[in-house]
């Protein structure tokens, strides 16, 4: 049986009904990884031995009628989530030898519900990138066409789920790092409301924007696992003081009479015709499902990219100061003195994109520039958030493309960081406003998938998933998988 063809939900059912064991399911995926991942480089570390131990334990629990909610289902974790006893690199030379002495809340929660970790997925270094080309462990390729990038920074997570080397993977999103690779790899990726998923043990890039989530093959699968990851965590002071939401309850409800907003600022942009056409078709589908389409205005939305490229680098410049070669991680050879230790450790341990952002952030926070850059960016950020608040007074969700086009070729945008940064033009606003966003496959062009994005009001992940599931119940885009 091609176990990987089953949805995660069906895999869980199958385990419950003893149609197959977790060891069988896990071994099946481990074999697929060893057979195919050479082409994609989606894993940094495969935890084969550990996975089989976890799988055996799950089977044991099934046998004794003591099974856990997500028992025995495999998952891949982005290598940004600390996992005790397993190397956590964040895609960087700086942490290439780092083994965390503790586990992230996300890992712990899913582990406690019985999930089996297959390994740690590749990513842009410290989650900075949109093509997964900045990883110290080499670029990841797109399973739809290996000459193309999978997107980033959660490129490894998207690539492995798309290649069906894992049924689902955790990911993180600071400016689009879940939704953009989901879009480029034909997957469903959801970034919840800021504060839904604990950031404890999730290595920080930009603290006020980072949020954990998943890339999955359907909204239904995503709902199941996101629910298991969410909930208040006293170890994260920015975590919302709310219990984990029930994300499957409303999943199958009709969207009849609900309203979809189309931000005119997005649709005024030059868009490739294939993209415009796919989005238009998706809108027609929603209309046919009873949704009402309304034009909305997010008048400050065009400030999003510049705001993001002040705030994210500023926060990252401080967050990455701890990598100094003193306590853990990479350390340069034979430092002359402390100054030399800092300089060479960071010079040798960080890649170019990380350095670029540390420099931008350091500059933006410097005496004499703080007011003009950081403070102004924070004020503008509030304006963007206000635009969304106003829009959600009249609509349930806001629809747009997820990315400006399908995946691009590896190396294509490496000489022009601005061109690369524009990849996130549609996704960044949700991070700035702390809102939930989801990307859903809605078409293809030249053999590559493309996605649409829905952004919801604060805490309305359930509504986003309902819209996504409703669409996926009536279309097949999410079922198309690459031939690998």
């Amino acid at each position: 049986m091609d176990l990987h063809k089953l949805s995660l939900k069906d895999q869980l059912e199958g385990l419950k009904k003893s149609e197959f064991t977790s060891v069988e399911l896990t071994s099946h995926y481990l074999k697929r990884i060893s057979d195919h991942d050479e082409k994609f480089n989606s894993f940094i570390t495969v935890t084969e031995e550990n996975a089989l131990i976890q799988a055996k334990a799950a089977d044991e629990r099934y046998k004794n009628n003591k099974s856990l909610p997500l028992d025995g289902v495999p998952i891949a974790h982005k290598d940004i989530f600390c996992t005790k006893g397993v190397r956590t690199t964040c895609g960087s030379k700086m942490l290439s030898n780092f083994e965390a002495p503790y586990s992230s809340t996300v890992y712990t929660k899913l582990d406690e519900q019985g999930m089996v970790m297959l390994g740690k997925t590749n990513m842009d270094e410290f989650a900075m990138g949109s093509s997964n080309e900045t990883s110290y462990f080499g670029p990841v390729s797109n399973p739809w066409d290996t000459e193309y990038v999978p997107g980033g920074s959660s490129g490894g997570s998207a690539s492995c789920v798309s290649a069906e080397l894992a049924p689902i993977a955790t990911a993180t999103d600071t400016g689009g790092s879940i939704r953009q690779p989901a879009s480029l790899c034909g997957l469903t990726g959801i970034k919840p409301t800021y504060g839904r998923v604990s950031r404890y043990g999730m290595i920080a890039f930009a603290s006020s924007l980072d949020q954990g989530g998943v890339v999955a093959r359907s909204a239904e699968d995503a709902a199941l696992i996101l629910e298991g990851m969410s909930g208040h965590d006293p170890k994260d002071s920015t975590s919302l003081k709310l219990p984990s939401p029930d994300l499957t309850k409303n999943l199958k409800n009709s969207i009849q009479g609900m309203k979809i907003g189309l931000p005119k600022e997005f649709f005024e942009k030059d868009m490739p015709s294939y993209l415009e056409q796919s989005i238009q078709e998706a809108i027609e589908t929603y209309k046919s499902l009873g949704a009402e389409i309304v034009e909305v205005s997010l008048k400050n939305i065009n400030l999003s990219l510049p705001i993001y490229y002040i705030i994210a680098p500023a926060e990252c410049s401080a967050n990455l100061s701890r990598y100094d070669g003193v306590r853990y991680g990479y350390r340069c050879e034979d430092p002359k003195d402390i100054e030399d230790l800092y300089m060479r450790t960071r010079e040798e341990g960080f890649g170019a994109e990380v350095k670029r952002r540390i420099l931008i952030g350091t500059y933006a926070l410097s005496a004499g520039f703080y007011d003009a850059y950081y403070l102004k960016a924070q004020k503008c950020r509030q304006l963007v958030a206000n635009d969304f608040t106003n829009a959600f007074e009249s609509v349930d969700v806001i629809l747009s493309p997820t990315t400006p086009g399908t995946a691009f070729k590896a190396g294509e945008k490496n000489d022009d960081p601005i061109e690369m940064y524009l990849q996130d033009i549609f996704t960044i606003p949700a991070n700035l406003a702390g809102l939930p966003g989801i990307s859903i496959p809605c078409g293809e062009h030249g053999g590559l998938p493309l996605g649409m994005q829905l952004v919801g009001n604060s805490l309305q992940e359930d509504k986003l998933l309902q819209f996504a599931h409703s669409y996926q119940s009536n279309t097949d885009w999410h079922k198309k998988m690459p031939n690998i």
Binding site: F81, C82, T88, C90, L95, F98, A100, P101, Y102, S104, R199, Y200, G201, M202, I203, A204, A206, S207, S208, P234, K235, D236, S237, T238, A314, E315, S317, A318, L320, S321, R322, Y323, D324, V326, R327, Y328, G329, I338, Y342, T362, L365, S366, A367, Y370, Y374
Partner: protein, 481 residues
């Protein structure tokens, strides 16, 4: 350096770092105990492991509110944290979590006693921040050791206005802050262990000048005496420099207590741009009115309140009341002694005199006194009710100190009750006069100072037990005859 300092005025502001006596650290659950083996009290958060996040220890909010209330300050709500960025090996995150725009305590003042009366010193702010670890440069050949036990220990930094003008005022201010934090039980204030550290910003200007001179910051001076000496040195150094035609460099200096000098630590060329920005891992904290009120309601009587009460209730002098009230433990001890002795003035003299002397001798805190407040109260009571003389009391006190016995037990065992029977005293006096005819003759012919000789003889005859006042009176009348 013999410039005429009288032409100059010093302008001094103090930054006092107070280590708060919480059980766990400011943003982690690790213990704050002093003196543990290096790096045994540093958890993943203190080590700044990738992915860890700070969680505020809410105990510090209560402590800061108490201090702010004692200083008549405003309590800011919301109050927020900021990152102060700098690289140093004992600062594991590469930034310190501190407060910038919205410190929890803002404004306020402290009244200090100076030679020329009470002076009000303004308090600019007091903010919460985490302490750094320690770099140990001498323990390892060619290397430095890092001990992160102290990293993340909560500090309250209290910043004064530059309204202090002499080293003595600086010490009075510092002592007053010390007294307040001990009263509030928010820090042990131990300067030798670094629980209270003082940085002094000092500049000088010609008397009458309005413009401030260039200031220097002298760091981490770890005793009251050193604060006084360091500031005095710095004032004299600056005046000397200026009068020699040099200029003062704005810099951080380190006090060297062995040679009583200050020397530059780092100069302005290396001045850090700390790039403060709001700490995104901690949301601004709203302090509810009810919460603040409940904290204030739980506050103890403060030193100045206690002093006023001692003056009005016990009729003590300002000076005595100030001395007693400055230390909470001494004040408590005093009140317990008075409860039994009912004699505030005599009790004060005993505490400040005999008791202090023995405590100092053995380097003991009053809490560890070998004579408890109850026992001292009894002793003072026995002096007051005439059972023993003050002189015998001193001997008894020393015996109590060594043996731990009660005063009455010693009096009984050694038969030390004062002789107050007129007849008995008269008999002793008669005997002394009889045995010293020569001296009597001389006294009667005008040698008044021999009176002391007779008193001494009588006291000796009574083994010191005769009531001195009665001896005086009776002797006088007998000798005049």
């Amino acid at each position: 350096m013999n410039e005429n300092l009288n032409n100059w005025e010093a302008v001094i502001g103090l930054e006092i770092h107070v280590q708060l006596s919480t059980k766990s650290k400011l943003f982690s659950g690790a213990s704050t105990n002093f003196g543990a083996l290096p790096n045994t009290q540093a958890c993943n958060i203190d080590l700044a492991m990738p992915g860890v996040l700070p969680v505020l220890n809410e105990e510090v909010l209560k402590m800061a509110i108490k201090l702010g209330t004692a200083l008549s300050s405003d309590i800011n709500s919301p109050t927020s944290f900021a990152r102060k960025n700098y690289f140093y090996p004992d600062s594991p995150k590469g930034y310190q979590i501190s407060q910038m725009d919205k410190p929890i305590v803002e404004g306020g003042y402290l009244d200090i006693e100076t030679e020329s009366g009470t002076k009000r010193i303004g308090v600019t702010r007091a903010h919460l921040e985490e302490d750094a670890g320690k770099s140990l440069h001498d323990d390892f050949e060619g290397q430095s050791g890092i001990d992160l036990n102290r990293a993340g220990t909560p500090l309250l930094e209290i910043v004064s206005e530059p309204e202090i003008n002499t080293p003595a005022e600086a010490v009075a201010y510092l002592k007053s802050i010390h007294s307040i934090i001990r009263y509030l039980d928010i820090s042990d204030g131990n300067m030798a262990e670094g629980s209270m550290r003082c940085d002094a910003n000092v500049s000088v200007r010609k008397k009458g000048d309005l413009e401030l001179g260039t200031r220097t910051e002298t760091k981490n001076v770890n005793s009251f005496r050193f604060v006084e000496k360091a500031i005095q040195y710095e004032i004299e150094r600056q005046v000397h420099e200026i009068e020699s035609g040099n200029t003062i460099t704005q810099e951080t200096r380190l006090y060297d207590s062995q040679n009583n000098t200050t020397r530059p630590m780092r100069s302005k060329e290396y001045a850090n741009d700390y790039r403060y920005f709001p700490e995104p891992d901690l949301l601004p904290i709203t302090l509810e009115k009810d919460f603040i009120e409940s904290v204030i309601n739980g506050m103890p009587e403060m030193p100045n309140e206690k002093k006023e009460r001692f003056v009005s209730k016990f009729s003590l002098s300002n000076y005595d009341a100030d001395l007693l009230a400055a230390d909470k433990d001494i004040a408590n001890y005093f009140e317990e002694v008075v409860k039994i002795s009912d004699s505030p003035k005599l009790s004060t003299n005993w505490i400040m005199g005999e008791l202090s002397a023995l405590l100092n001798n053995e380097n003991l805190n009053i809490r560890d006194s070998k004579v408890s407040s109850d026992k001292l109260g009894q002793l003072v009571l026995r002096i007051e009710d005439g059972t023993i003389s003050g002189k015998i009391a001193k001997d008894i006190f020393e015996k109590m100190w060594i043996s731990g016995k009660e005063v009455d037990e010693i009096i009984k065992d050694e038969g030390l009750e004062q002789v107050t029977d007129d007849k008995q005293i008269e008999a002793m006096i008669d005997e002394v006069i009889k045995s010293n005819p020569e001296q009597l003759e001389q006294y009667r012919s005008g040698k008044d100072r021999l009176f002391g000789f007779f008193v001494g003889q009588v006291m000796q005859a009574s083994q010191g037990k005769a009531n001195p006042k009665q001896v005086n009176d009776i002797l006088k009348s007998k000798l005049e005859k």
